[in-house]
C-alpha cells in the first residue's frame, strides 16, 4: 500500500511539473504567465503567491488519506453558493490526481482582532482539517481595526492552528480601485503578508493578483454595475485556481526537502497507480 501511495504522489508531482514549469521553480518567475491557469486568470507567479512548506497536506497525500480542507471566509462566485468550494475542490483534484479532496466552506464574520479568532478555533476543532485556507483581513479592514492589533491576533491564530499539526494557507483581501490609496487598508494587506512570512505559511496574494488583472487591457465583457464590480467577479472566479496553484506549488517545495521519516517511501520504485 505504501508504495502505491508514494507513487500516487509522484504522479501528482509529474502532472504538476508538466502542467507548469514556472510552478516548479523555487522562486516564481517574474515574467510569463502560469500555463495551468485559465486565460482570464493568468497572473505572473511573483504577483500571485509566496510559497512555504505544507507538511500536513504532504503527509495526508503520502498516507493516501482524503485531504480535508477547511476553507474560511469570502462568498462564492456569482451563480451558485457552492461554486468557490466546488471549484477549489475540482482544481485541487486536477492538480493532485488520485487524491480525494473534501472541502468544508465556512463564513467567518467579525474581526480577527476581536471575537472571530475564537470562532475560528471552534471551526477548526469541529472540522479537524489537514489544511485551513483562510481568506482574511476584509472584516478587520472594514472595521478599521488597527493593523498591528490585527497582525498580532492573526499571528497568534495561525500559530495556534499550526501548533496542532494543521497547515495554513492565507489569502489576503481583494484589490479594488476605491481602496487602492487607502493607507489603513494597505496596512492590513501588508499585515497579512508579514504574518504569512513570519509564520512561514503560503500566501495567495489576491490583492496583487487582482491589481495585475485590473491593469490588463480589459476589453470584452462589461459589467452593469461598473468596472470594479466586473473585476470583483473575475477575482472570485479566479480565486479557486489561484489557491489551488499556490497549494500545488508549495507542495512541490515541501517535496523538494522531504522530512527524513517519509523519505524512504519516496525512493521506492514507481508503480502504476491503481
Amino acid at each position: 500500500m505504501r508504495r502505491v501511495r508514494a507513487s500516487g504522489f509522484r504522479w501528482a508531482l509529474a502532472a504538476l511539473i508538466l502542467a507548469g514549469p514556472a510552478a516548479a521553480a523555487e522562486q516564481p518567475a517574474d515574467t510569463g504567465d502560469q500555463p495551468s491557469l485559465s486565460q482570464e486568470c493568468r497572473v505572473p507567479g511573483a504577483q500571485l503567491y509566496t510559497m512555504a512548506k505544507l507538511s500536513a497536506v504532504r503527509s495526508a497525500l503520502s498516507e493516501n488519506r482524503p485531504l480535508k480542507i477547511l476553507a474560511i471566509g469570502g462568498s462564492a462566485a456569482p451563480g451558485a453558493s457552492a461554486s468557490y468550494p466546488a471549484k477549489l475542490e475540482a482544481a485541487l483534484e486536477q492538480a493532485l490526481p488520485k487524491t480525494d479532496v473534501t472541502i468544508d466552506h465556512r463564513g467567518l464574520p467579525g474581526e480577527i482582532a476581536s471575537g472571530a479568532s475564537e470562532r475560528l478555533r471552534t471551526m477548526v476543532a469541529e472540522a479537524e482539517p489537514d489544511l485551513v485556507v483562510w481568506q482574511v483581513g476584509t472584516h478587520d479592514a472594514i472595521a478599521r481595526v488597527d493593523a498591528d492589533a490585527f497582525a498580532s491576533a492573526l499571528s497568534e491564530a495561525v500559530a495556534w492552528i499550526r501548533s496542532h499539526g494543521i497547515d495554513v494557507v492565507l489569502v489576503d483581501p481583494i484589490y479594488t480601485a476605491s481602496m487602492a490609496a487607502d493607507v489603513d487598508y494597505n496596512r492590513i494587506v501588508e499585515a497579512v503578508r508579514t504574518v504569512a512570512g513570519q509564520q512561514q505559511v503560503p500566501l495567495v496574494r489576491r490583492y496583487e493578483a487582482l491589481r495585475y488583472l485590473s491593469s490588463r487591457s480589459d476589453k470584452g465583457e462589461g459589467h452593469m454595475l461598473g468596472r470594479q464590480f466586473r473585476l470583483n467577479d473575475l477575482g472570485l472566479r479566479c480565486m479557486a485556481e489561484h489557491v489551488a496553484l499556490t497549494i500545488a506549488t508549495s507542495l512541490m517545495r515541501t517535496e523538494a526537502e522531504p522530512a527524513p521519516k517519509i523519505a524512504p517511501a519516496l525512493t521506492e520504485p514507481q508503480r502504476a497507480p491503481g
Binding site: 453558493s81 465556512r106 464574520p109
Partner: protein, 365 residues
Amino acid sequence: MRDPNAIDFWRGFALVTIFINHVPGNTFERYTFSQYGISDAAELFVFLAGWSIGIATRGRDGTPEPAGKSVVRLLARTVEVYRAQLTVMLLALALIAGAALLLDNPLILEWHNAGGFFADPIQSVCGMALMTYQLGFFNILPLYVVLIGIAPIFVLVGRLSLIAALALSGAVYLASLVFEWNLPSWPGEGDWFFDPFCWQVLLVLGFVLQGWNLRSDTLRRWSRRLIPAGIVIVILGIVLAVTGLRPDPLMVPEPRLLFTFEKTYLTPARLLHFLGVLLAFAPLYALLAPRIGGVGRYLSQLGRNSLAVFSMGSILSLIGQLVRFQTGGGVLVDMLVAGSGLVGLGFTAWFVEWRTRNKSSRPRP
C-alpha cells in the same frame, strides 16, 4: 406605561451594550462589560426575555393566566419578532448594497457574509425566509423567534411543575452540548451562530426563577447569601478576559463543549459566569435607581420597547460601521456614531410609546 423597574433597566442596559459592541473597533467598545468577562450582553438579554415571559403569563400573586391565553400571547410575539427579523435583514442588505454602489466599492458586499446573498439570491432569499441565512450581528432575532416559538412548551410544563420545566430544559441543553446539536445554516455550510437548543436553557431559567421569586422569599434570601460567590466569579471572569486565558478547543477532553468558552453553545463556563454576574449585579439597581435619575428612565424606556429598539439598533450600528469605514474612524467619529446612535435608540422607544398612546379611536391617515 410601566414605571422604571429593574428588569426594563437591565434590558435597556443590555440593548445599549449590544449596540456599542455591534460597531466593532469603536473607541467605546472597550468600556462595555462584555470585554471583561466570559459571558456578555446576549446572555443578559435572553435571560431577561425569559423573566419577562414569567411576568407576562403570571399575575402579581403568581397565579397563571389561562393556558390558551399564554400560548396565543407567545405565538403573537413570535410572529412579531419574525416580522422584525425579515424587515431588519432586508434593510441591512439594502444598506450594504446601496453603500457598495454609491461608493463604487465591491469590498462592502462582503460585509457580514452578505456576499453570499448577492452571489446567490435565489437560494439566499429562501434561506432568509427560513432564517437559515443570517448576516453577522443579525443573528439574535432568529434565536429569539425560535425561543419564543418553543416557550409555550416550557410555560405549560411549568404550570405543572417549575422543576420539571427546568429539568426538561436542562436535559435538552446537556444533550445538545454532548451531541453538538444545532440548527443548520443554508445556503452555505455551518450552523446557527446562536444554538437555540443550548440557549433555551437561559430563557427557561429566567422564566422559572421569576416564578420562584414570586412564590417565596427563599430565592431572594439565597441570592443575597451568594453575592460573595458572584463577586468571586466576576473577578475570575475579568482576570480570564484580560489575560486572554481560555481552554484550547483541540486540547480539552470529550465532550468538548462541556469545557470550552463558546458563545454559540452557551457552554457551562459562560452560563456559570453569567449566573455570577447576575448574583453580583442584580442588587445594584436598587442602589443606583434613586441616584441616576434620567439615565435610569432612559434605559428603562429602551427596555420597555426592546424589540423596536433592538431592531433599530441593528440598523443604526450597521450605518455606524459604514460611517466609520468611509471616514476612517477616530475618536470624534466614534463619539458621533455612539452619540447619535443612543439618541436614535431613545427616539425609537419614545416614538413607539407615542404611537401606542395615539392609536386610540382616531382614523388613520
